[in-house]
């Protein structure tokens, strides 16, 4: 990639056309130097743009009405042919993985792609990244020990290049620290990770440690990762719902909630997924960022910035180098 990255954006989000996705691209065009390639129906896209402040020099449209090819597939074709450098989509993660697998080549040596999830966690020291990465969270359900090691390498490259963590600490999600309770895959992965010279492996991580600041990258099989990521997500929204319901039930609680509101807002701001925008699918030769289905324009803006950053920071090249040898990344 030379010069300014071009990010393909599926403006349908996997379903009907979404004006907020076009708004995100318009905002990107007026506030950054990133170019966006909007993939979707041309008429509706321009109708939204006409009502916005935008910079046409940084926006192009890949017309795709979805009859012959989905916007996701069309956007990935643009990425694979070099018209765009990366893609962002709010379509379902599974649809994104399937489309990526069809359109993009894996980095040489990568056995399986990994879907990452980024989530807020406690920090242990000032300046520590507020977000940790969990992978795989559902690109595939099972993984072998060498595949888990590859996930760790890919996550470490991403953390090093994008999150700027010099020596990301890697953990293996497990039932406990007692190796007796490990199955063959976990046991082999634990041994291989500990022996790998290119990784800072801190050992097994239990569920309750996910949101602590002990590790930066947690690797696991897709089934376990998907459940863990869903649980973190569900808990956050459940807590908000519980607090809201409590406030509605009793006046005293409402007053209490009011008094705590500033703190709650601060916590919400710190944990707001819109700050990181999206999560990468790692292992392909091109960058792909998935967003939540309900991601709003702000989340999309940050996801596009994240994609551009991953392109500029050479995540795919870093993964290839990491897989070649311990000093490669």
């Amino acid at each position: 990639m030379t010069g300014v990255p071009t990010i393909a954006l599926d403006v349908t989000g996997g379903a009907a056309s979404r004006p907020d996705l076009v708004k995100a691209a318009a905002q990107i065009s007026t506030t950054t130097s990133i170019d966006c390639l909007l993939v979707g129906s041309e008429g509706p896209i321009q109708a939204v743009l006409d009502e916005l402040e935008y910079n046409p020099e940084q926006l192009s449209v890949l017309a795709c009405n979805g009859d012959a090819e989905t916007p996701l597939a069309a956007g990935l074709r643009a990425v694979s042919t070099g018209r765009a450098d990366a893609m962002v989509s709010a379509a379902s993660a599974q649809a994104c993985i399937t489309a990526c697998s069809r359109a993009l080549a894996l980095v040489p040596g990568v056995r399986k792609p990994a879907l990452a999830a980024v989530f807020p966690r406690q920090t242990e020291y000032p300046g520590q990244d507020r977000f940790a990465m969990l992978l795989d969270v559902g690109a595939s359900s099972r993984a072998s020990a060498p595949e888990l090691v590859q996930y760790a390498l890919m996550g470490a490259v991403y953390a090093r290049r994008v999150s700027k963590i010099a020596a990301p600490r890697i953990g293996l999600l497990a039932m406990g620290h007692d190796t007796v309770r490990h199955d063959d895959v976990l046991a082999a992965a634990n041994t291989a990770l500990a022996a790998h010279p290119g990784l800072t492996y801190v050992g097994e991580v239990e569920g309750h440690e996910l949101v602590r600041g002990r590790v930066d990258v947690i690797v696991c099989e897709g089934v376990m990762g998907s459940v863990a990521a869903g649980l973190i997500d569900g808990l956050t929204s459940a807590l908000v719902d519980v607090a809201r319901a409590a406030g509605e039930q009793r006046l005293v609680w409402r007053v209490g909630m009011r008094l705590l509101s500033e703190g709650i807002e601060r916590v919400q701001a710190l944990t707001d997924y819109r700050h990181y925008g999206g999560a990468p699918i790692l292992g392909f030769e091109r960058v792909f960022i998935t967003c939540r289905a309900g991601a709003d324009a702000q989340a999309l803006v940050n996801a596009i910035k994240l994609a551009a950053k991953a392109v500029r920071d050479g995540v795919a090249d870093g993964i290839a180098a990491a897989l070649r040898g311990p000093t490669g990344a």
Binding site: D35, D50, E51, E53, P56, L59, V61, A63
Partner: protein, 352 residues
């Protein structure tokens, strides 16, 4: 009103190009008193032109001369004549050919204590446009160039409607009073409007979207007004109208690439934006694209797929069917509704 091709315009009528200066030709920054003070003391070499604009002015003249068509270029500025030397120096430095330039005598307003007139430009600009019209043949075509910072779309539209003969002098007077033009000036403007000889027309009003106003916000000014985001887009529309040949358009693109850091990708994006907004037909876009490729400003592209060609063909047909002239008077009540800051007084019942 998209151009139908890049053939030189068939009209042999003289062409009058009138340009606003600040934020249209010059990248003027006077949003704060400090900037205003600095602007007042700038020398010609300190002033910065909008990217590509000198090339557009020059290309219009070169193309007209090439085809033996009469053309005149005038600048109208709401800046005081005291900065005239710096501006003339700047235009000379840019090598821009022009036939005249007028400034707003702000000192006179100060002397008369007419402080409101310092910021009221509609009356001043309309007066200058109408006076300028008296000097040319009735059949001259005009191109007006302004920006979206103040009242250029309104001033130019009023003028265009007067020239087209669809806005009677009395109606103009009512509108000017509503806009808040100096009551002493309104009768003069109405008299000037009454003198406009029939047969001319304002072919296009170009508004440089210096503030990045959403294009849809200017739709109330009708299809005669072309909002453009950069001067490559302006050149493309001029090419589509037959005022520039493809190499002239490519020359503007080349200047943007060589002097202002534009990439071929950004030129292509600007072109595609115009096609999507219906300001340029795919046919013209293809012809200009060929010229840009010959100039090595764009990389060769894949041949468009059958579906894309079919879509472009349909778009060409649709845009060619649009009336290119005979635009009715604008609905000024709607314009004031959309831009309440342009009107100072409420409309009198039953009046425009």
């Amino acid at each position: 009103m998209a151009g139908t091709g890049l053939a030189w315009r068939s009209s042999s009528r003289p062409l009058l190009c009138r340009w606003d200066l600040d934020k249209t030709y010059l990248r003027s920054e006077f949003d704060t008193l400090r900037q205003l003070w600095r602007t007042a003391w700038e020398r010609g070499e300190d002033k910065v032109a909008m990217p590509g604009v000198p090339e557009v002015v020059k290309a219009l003249k070169t193309a007209a001369d090439r085809h033996g068509a009469p053309i005149a270029t005038y600048f109208v500025s709401a800046s005081p004549p005291q900065i005239g030397k710096a501006i003339r120096d700047k235009l000379a430095l840019d090598g821009v050919p022009y036939d005249g330039i007028t400034f707003k005598n702000q000192l006179e307003h100060l002397k008369r204590g007419k402080f409101r007139n310092l910021r009221e430009h509609v009356g001043f600009k309309l007066g200058e446009l109408l006076r300028g019209r008296r000097l040319v043949s009735g059949a001259a075509d005009e191109l007006l160039f302004g920006d979206d910072w103040e009242s250029d779309p309104l001033t130019y539209s009023l003028y265009a409607d007067v020239v087209a003969g669809v806005l009677p002098a009395e109606g103009l007077g009512t509108l000017l009073r509503r806009i808040g033009v100096d009551p002493l000036v309104v009768p003069q403007l109405v008299a000037l409007a009454a003198e406009v000889r029939p047969g001319g027309r304002v072919e296009r009003i170009f508004i440089n979207l210096a503030r990045r106003s959403p294009p849809a916000s200017l739709r109330v000014f009708g299809p005669r007004l072309a909002p453009t985001f950069n001067y490559f887009q302006t050149a493309l529309v001029l090419g589509g109208m037959g005022h520039l040949d493809p190499p002239d358009v490519a020359a503007v693109g080349d200047a943007l690439v060589r002097q202002h850091g534009y990439s071929g990708r950004r030129l292509a994006n600007s072109l595609e934006d115009l096609v999507r907004r219906g300001l340029l037909t795919p046919h013209v876009a293809r012809r200009v694209t060929s010229a840009l490729r010959r100039a090595q400003l764009l990389v060769p592209a894949d041949r468009p797929r059958a579906l894309e060609r079919l879509r472009d063909w349909g778009r060409d047909i649709r845009l060619r069917r649009r009336p290119a002239s005979g635009v009715p008077a604008l609905d000024y009540a709607r314009i004031f509704e959309a831009f309440p800051n342009l009107a100072r007084t409420r409309a009198t019942e039953g009046k425009p």
